[in-house]
Assembly symmetry: C2
Homo-oligomer: 197 residues x 2
Amino acid sequence: MADALPKSLEHLVERLSTLPGVGRRTAERLAHHLVRAPQAEALSIADAIREAREKIRPCSVCRAPAESDPCPICADPARDPALVLVVETARDLKAVEDSGAWKGRYHVLGGRVSPIEGVGPDDLALDALVARATEGVREVVLATNPDLEGDGTALHVEKALAPTGVKVSRLARGVPAGGSLEYLSKTVLAEALDHRR
Amino acid sequence: MADALPKSLEHLVERLSTLPGVGRRTAERLAHHLVRAPQAEALSIADAIREAREKIRPCSVCRAPAESDPCPICADPARDPALVLVVETARDLKAVEDSGAWKGRYHVLGGRVSPIEGVGPDDLALDALVARATEGVREVVLATNPDLEGDGTALHVEKALAPTGVKVSRLARGVPAGGSLEYLSKTVLAEALDHRR
């Protein structure tokens, strides 16, 4: 019996399987869709990936993915540069930003300390944060996810910031322990910002 | 509050949302992964989509996606051209082919009759099948999915083939009603082929 999938289709399945949360079955379903869908529709996805990779770089100040450097938030004079909110990922940044409750700036760590996944503090954008903290920052708000690894990450950030003497606060315990920042309602995020300690 | 997603990233999210089974949240997760992953990894997905679109065409005989025309199965002299097994999709073809139980050839309808989804018999590759049936085909095995729409589709195929006088059989009732061909075990598929009626 011959291999039933053409080589380039098999290759596409294999490539799609590298995406997070996409197993072999899902990759096969997506690949077959991509070769059957209208040509323009399929190629627009390939183009969008390429375009995003060409245009998007981490902001040299806050590390958020952006098309300009500094990013629009870091370049916005209306956003208080003395207030820096630290998040694990750009998706968390978006969740906070969408709440409309934060008028300061951000710092994206680019992950979380996780011994299981082999991610240590050195893998995060901590040095850049410490450098920022010594340049007119009044307060750093730690908005890591309210779970074990997020709390651990926050401790690492706090320790790294200690020598700078900058004021460090945490989101109020309005964020439910064990939850995921990305999926919280705007109200919960806004309250947690109001009551930060 | 500014839009927190850069334009090209938002565009990528929007494009990925067009994939079947991919909602806004999943698209955001995939898009952020694609801009954070190593450059080569992300671009290899874009390239694989483009390459598959360039190389893959429906076989002019059986309509299966293939890089050559006719496809390797239609071009294989060891596969009996007088026996044609009809499937809804190329994924079903792969399921049957992986079972190793079919030594004839295939015909891919490219869908199923579904009034709810606005798919009628005219949307399927029926004419091509009827034309094949008049050219030395001894038996057509209907292997549509064993559910309401699959059975309905089989009836349409049978009706279209009636004027040709070709022998038409169905998979034996080894395939469990309500199931999905793609997910059946090889043994179940092999048995259903053995007992076709």
